[in-house]
């Protein structure tokens, strides 16, 4: 694969204007059919924290935008990815990422023990659809399956009345929304890749060649286009790895779920059956994020993301290219508004014998 972007390494010290221009050169520009240039110049400056002179230099160097001179408008994903690889250290996306990835500083052993979470999701119609005509609506929300990584469901309530709990989805029709709440226990298990061939495949999309980026799910599904630009967001890289594993004779699938304790963040990873018959979870996006954006990642964290099951993830039966929630009105799909609260419970579970996390051939 001919990768367009140069490999990115975390700078030892904050970079100045040249860091911004380098980042622009390697920017994955959100394509026209998925662009949404609604971020105004003032908000862009607040997000980038680069000052107007550098923003003007970026504009002269080709930063894509709409609007008029002095009143430019930008795509939010463009700005976030531009900032993440600027090396400035002060932009909002860089600071947000450092904050959000603090959990990667801890000993990976913390990722394998049972953890109890209070879980709550509420779906409401997309803003553009208002509240009208609930009788023509169909809703779905991926059913949580913590047992796939050794956890369990202590309680789960769904609503409104008439909502149905299925193996793959919680569904409702003719309602103004959909809710699910309860108490879930996630768990994990340390596992390592046994097959040398498999290890070679799943580590081939690492931080030495690829960078992570924020972009619409619909773009991530176009994995060849995204990976060719040197970006490996979770959906794209998992879809690619699942294909490559299957080509090499390994049973593999992608899985979609949520990252726990991140307020509202869906995620995707790879599940592959190793030559010892055990399912190994592989999370190349986490490996990249730890290397490029965590402030002080634990030295063993990348190894934990390459084989082990993690209590930080809440699995569902959805694949990487299936959104975790959906809304249809008159048969047409749209992303609903959603509020997901996943908070660590004040009381944690006592150690418990489980039947074995993730078992042998859960793909």
């Amino acid at each position: 694969m001919n990768i367009e972007a140069k490999p990115w390494t975390r700078p030892a010290a904050p970079r100045g204007p040249e860091g911004w221009l380098d980042s622009l050169r390697d920017l994955l520009v959100i394509p026209p059919e998925l662009r949404d240039e609604w971020v105004e110049r003032e908000a862009a400056l607040e997000l980038l924290q680069c000052g107007p002179e550098i923003l003007d230099e970026l504009l002269r160097a080709g930063l894509p935008h709409g609007g008029t001179p002095g009143a430019e408008r930008f795509d939010r994903f463009d700005l976030v990815n531009l900032a993440l690889y600027s090396g400035s250290g002060t932009s909002v996306p860089e600071k947000t990422m450092r904050y959000a990835l603090r959990w990667m500083h801890a000993d990976p052993e913390a990722l394998f023990r049972p953890q109890r979470w209070n879980y709550s999701v509420a779906l409401t119609p997309p803003a553009a659809h208002g509240e009208g005509e609930p009788e023509r609506t169909d809703w779905n929300l991926a059913t949580p399956h913590p047992e796939l990584s050794g956890g369990w469901t202590e309680s789960l309530s769904i609503g409104p009345e008439g909502a149905s709990l299925g193996e793959k989805d919680i569904t409702a029709s003719g309602t103004s929304g959909l809710t699910a709440s309860g108490v879930l226990v996630t768990s994990g298990e340390r596992r390592e890749i046994v097959s040398e061939r498999l290890r070679e495949i799943v580590t081939s999309y690492g931080p030495d060649r690829f960078r992570w980026g924020r972009m619409p799910e619909e773009l991530q599904w176009r994995k060849d286009e995204v990976l060719a630009q040197g970006y490996a967001p979770c959906i794209s890289v998992c879809l690619e790895l699942a294909e490559r594993c299957r080509e090499a004779g390994f049973e593999a699938r992608t899985r979609r779920g949520w990252i726990m304790g991140m307020l509202d963040l869906a995620h995707s990873w790879l599940e592959v059956v190793d030559e010892d018959g055990l399912v190994k979870n592989v999370d190349p996006a986490f490996v990249i994020l730890a290397d490029h954006h965590a402030e002080a990642p634990h030295p063993d964290i990348a190894q934990a993301f390459t084989g082990s099951l993690l209590n930080r993830l809440l699995p569902t039966e959805h694949h990487a290219d299936e959104p975790v929630n959906g809304y249809r009105r008159g048969g047409l799909f749209a992303h609903p508004r959603h509020q997901t609260d996943i908070q660590l419970s004040a009381e944690q579970p006592a150690p418990r014998e489980t039947a074995g996390a993730g078992n042998g051939s859960g793909t």
């Binding site: 607040e46 947000t96 603090r102 959990w103």
Partner: protein, 86 residues
Amino acid sequence: MSGATEHKPAGFDAVVRYLLTKRPELTSIDPDLDLVENRILDSLGFVNFLYVLEEQTGEEILMEHVTPSDFRTINSIRKRFFHESE
């Protein structure tokens, strides 16, 4: 060095002062005002606000221990992070 002593607010008062800088036209914030709906807290400023909160409480705030409602009003911030009643 001047002889004047500048009193910088600390703790909860410093947090309120920080929030006021987000809306300079305000001189005070109602303790029950919705900070998100009134554009005092938004996604862009949220992480900076978390760092301010950590500095003023002296405690690390982990995402898994908080919910959006903890940041909704001055009163909810005071109760959740400064362990004070309204």
